[in-house]
Amino acid sequence: MIDFELTSNDKKLLDAVRTEALVARQYARHYDEHEHEFPPDELPEAKDFPNVWSLFAGRTADDTSMGVISLLMTMGQTWGDYSVRMRRGKGGLGNAALRAAGTPEQQAKWNDLTLAMAITEPGCGSDSAGVQCTAVLDGDEWVVNGEKIFVTTGCRADGVVVWATIDKSAGRAGIKSFLIEKGTPGFVVAHKEKKLGIRADDTAAYVFQNCRIPRGNLLGLDESIPRQGSGGFRGVMKTFNMTRPGVAAIGLGMAEAALDFTREQLEKAGARIEYGPGIHGQSAAAQKFLRLEGQFEAAKLTTLHAAWLGDNRQPNNDEASICKAKAGAAVREITQGCIELLGPLGISREHLLEKWFRDVRITDIYEGTGQIQRLILARSLLGYTSKELK
C-alpha cells in the first residue's frame, strides 16, 4: 500500500535521533571554527542518553523498512550537525568497500578497523578509471606508489582502501583495491585539507612511496586482468548504489535545518507561511519559501524511494543517481535561497545558516558530481555505453 505516514515506533526512533542531534548542534560552531581539532568519539552528554540502537528492539514488520528508516535517521543526525555526533560510529567508506569486495577472511580480519576510501588523485576525480597510482607485485608483496587526495576520515582512519592499477595498459580492468594499514612504511599522511565547509570532518592527502604490503591485501584476491569488459570495476562502482542515497540524506538533513530556521525567523518577523492560499494570497517571501520546501520534499522522497526499492530487493541503480542528483541540486538552491530570504541574519555567523550553506555544498560533488549522476542516468535511459555517451 502506498503510504507516507510514520508509525509510532518510527517517530520514537526519529525523536530520539533529533534530541541527540540538538545536543551535537551545540558543538557545531566550535568545530567549524577550530578546524584542526577532532570532535570526540563521544560527547560528554552522551553517557546520559540511551543508545538509539536500543530503540530498534520493539520494531515490527508494520514499521518503515530498514533502509528507509536509516536514511531518515541520517537526516535527523545531520539536521543537528554534519560531523559532530553524540556518539561516532566506527567505520568509514572503506568498510563498505571491504564488505562489497573482500573475501570472508579479509572481512573478518579487518572488520574492526575504521577504513577510509582513497580513489581520487590530484589528476583524476570524476574519471575514476584514470587512476595513476600503481601496485607492482614483487615476490610476495605489492609495492604501491602514488598520491591520493580528499580522503574522508583520512587522518583518523586505521587504514585505507586504495585504488591502484596493476597494469596501466589494461584501463579499468587493471584497477584493483588494496587495503593499506596506517603505520606501513612508505605510507605518509601528507596533510589535512582546509575546506569551505564540513570542517569538523577530516579530509586528508596521502603519499605512497615504495609502500610494501602483503600480497593478500588485494581485496578479493583476484589478480587476473580480463581482456574483455571492465573486470570487477563495474561491481565496485555498484557499491555506490548503496552509498548515494546516504549521501543525499546527509545533505538533506542540513537543508531541513536551514528551512526550519528560516521559517521560524520569517514568522517571528511577521511573514506568514501558509499552504492554503494560492500564488496571489502569499507574500513573495512565502512563495519563495514554499518553492524551496517543495524542492526539499521532492529530494527527500526520491531518496527514500531509492532505499525503499533496495529494501524490497528491486534494482535501484537509476534511482540512486536520481536522488543524488536531485538532492545535490536541491540543497544548494535551498540554502542559497534561505540566506536570500533572511538577508543580514542569513549571513551572520551568530547563526548556523551560513554554515549550513557552506556544509551542504559538498553534496553535489563527492561520490559522483551532479553531472556524473546525470551521465549515468542518461546512459541507462538511452541504452548507451560509456563510449557512446561521454
Binding site: 502506498i2 503510504d3 505516514e5 499552504y275 494570497g281 526520491t302 536520481i322 535511459l381 555517451l389
Partner: protein, 369 residues
C-alpha cells in the same frame, strides 16, 4: 509505514489505463485539440472502465469499491499520459461526484450519485476557477448570501469542463459570513437554474480538447438542500486539496508523455554525424526530465495518501501542485527544444503539450480525486 508500493488492484488499474491511454486516447488528442471537441465515444469508453462508478457505494448503484484518492491519482497520471485534455474531460464528473460522496448529506448522495452509475458517461462539473488575474481559492469573488431558507449566488466562473453538456455544476462560493477555508461553500446548481448563464465555449491556449465555458451567476437562488453537506457545510480544505492533487497528477502524466516522446526522438535524430542524444546538453535534459518526473510522482502520491487517510492535505497538496506546475512547464519546454524546429510544427504533439502545460499550471480546480 513509508511505502511506495501500490496494491495489486491499483497496479492493475494502472496497467489497464496505461494501455487505454496509448491505444485509445493518444490517437485522438491532436484532432480533439484542432477541433476543440471531444467525441462522446471516447468518454463512454473511458467511463466503462469504471473510473468514477466503482468507488460509489452499492446502495447508490455503484461498484462499492473503497473510496481511494490514490487509485484516482494513478488513473489520472495514465489518462493524462494519453492526453491531458481528454483526461480532464473523462474525469470531470469526479469533480462533481467525489465531493458529494465525501461530504454530501444522505439526501444529496441519494439524489445525485446514481447519475454516475450508468453505462454511459454523465457530464457534471466542478466550478471553482474564476476569470480574474488574482484568482485565489481562498478569496473567491463568487459569493453566497443567505436568503430566506436558501441562498443567492452571484459571480463568475471559468474553465468549467464540459459546461456545454453538464447536467449540474458544483459551484464553489464564499459565504459572506466567514473567511478563509471556513468561508468556502459548495452548491449544487442544475444547468437550467434561473439566473445561470452558460457562456459560449472558451477559446484557450491549451487543453482545447476539453470544451470548457464560463458561468455567469446572476442572483441564482438555490434552496437549503443545494448546499453541499447541508447545514454543516463542507470541509473546504479537503475540496481544494483534492482538486490540487488531481491537477498535479495530470501534470505528471503530461510530463511523462513528453519524456517518452523526446527520448526515442533524440536517439533517432542525427546531427553532425551522430544522434543528438549523444551530446550531453540533450542527454542531460532527458536525465532531468526523469528526475523531475519521479519527484512529481512521489509528491503527488504523498498528497493522495494524506487525502486517502482523511488527514489534512493542505500542505502536501500545495507542494505537489506547485512543484508539478513548475516542473511540467520546464519539461514541456525542454521537450520542445529536443525536437528543435520540428517541435514547433503541429505534426508533432510536443507543441500541444507545451500549451497544455502552461494552461494546467494556472488552474486550481477542475477535478477531484
Amino acid at each position: 509505514m513509508i511505502s511506495f508500493g501500490p496494491t495489486e488492484e491499483q497496479a492493475m488499474v494502472r496497467d489497464t489505463l496505461r494501455e487505454f491511454a496509448s491505444k485509445e486516447i493518444r490517437p485522438l488528442a491532436r484532432e480533439c485539440d484542432e477541433t476543440a471537441t471531444v467525441p462522446d465515444a471516447i468518454l463512454d469508453a473511458a467511463w466503462q472502465l469504471g473510473l468514477v462508478s466503482t468507488q460509489i457505494p452499492e446502495v447508490y448503484g455503484g461498484g462499492g469499491e473503497p473510496r481511494s484518492p490514490i487509485t484516482n491519482v494513478l488513473a489520472l497520471e495514465e489518462l493524462a499520459f494519453g492526453d491531458a485534455a481528454l483526461a480532464i474531460a473523462a474525469l470531470s464528473p469526479a469533480g462533481f461526484a467525489m465531493p458529494i460522496l465525501d461530504m454530501g448529506t444522505d439526501e444529496q448522495k441519494k439524489t445525485y450519485l446514481p447519475l454516475f452509475t450508468g453505462e454511459r458517461f454523465h457530464a457534471a462539473s466542478l466550478a471553482l476557477v474564476e476569470p480574474s488575474p488574482v484568482f485565489d481559492a481562498l478569496d473567491l469573488r463568487t459569493v453566497a448570501e443567505p436568503k430566506g431558507d436558501g441562498f443567492v449566488l452571484s459571480g463568475r466562473k471559468s474553465f468549467v469542463p464540459l459546461a456545454d453538456r453538464a447536467s449540474h455544476f458544483l459551484v464553489v462560493a464564499r459565504s459572506t459570513a466567514r473567511e478563509g477555508f471556513a468561508g468556502l461553500d459548495a452548491f449544487i446548481v442544475p444547468r437550467d437554474a434561473h439566473g445561470l448563464e452558460i457562456s459560449p465555449l472558451e477559446k484557450n491556449l491549451g487543453l482545447r480538447g476539453v470544451p470548457s465555458a464560463g458561468l455567469v451567476l446572476d442572483r441564482v437562488e438555490v434552496g437549503r438542500a443545494a448546499r453541499l453537506g447541508g447545514d454543516a457545510g463542507i470541509d473546504g480544505r479537503r475540496l481544494v486539496a483534492s482538486s490540487r492533487t488531481a491537477l498535479a497528477a495530470v501534470m505528471l502524466g503530461l510530463s511523462r508523455a513528453v519524456m517518452e516522446y523526446a527520448l526515442p526522438y533524440a536517439k533517432d535524430r542525427i546531427a553532425f554525424g551522430e544522434a543528438i542524444a549523444r551530446r550531453q546538453t540533450v542527454a542531460f535534459w532527458l536525465s532531468d526530465m526523469r528526475i523531475e518526473i519521479d519527484s512529481m510522482r512521489w509528491l503527488t502520491w504523498q498528497s493522495g495518501s494524506s487525502l486517502e487517510k482523511g488527514a489534512d492535505a493542505t500542505r502536501t497538496s500545495h507542494l505537489a501542485r506547485q512543484y508539478a506546475a513548475d516542473a511540467s512547464m520546464k519539461i514541456a519546454d525542454d521537450g520542445l527544444q529536443v525536437l528543435g524546429g520540428h517541435g514547433f510544427i503541429r505534426e508533432h504533439p510536443v507543441e500541444l503539450w507545451y500549451r497544455s502545460a502552461r494552461t494546467l499550471g494556472v488552474l486550481e480546480g477542475t477535478l477531484a480525486v
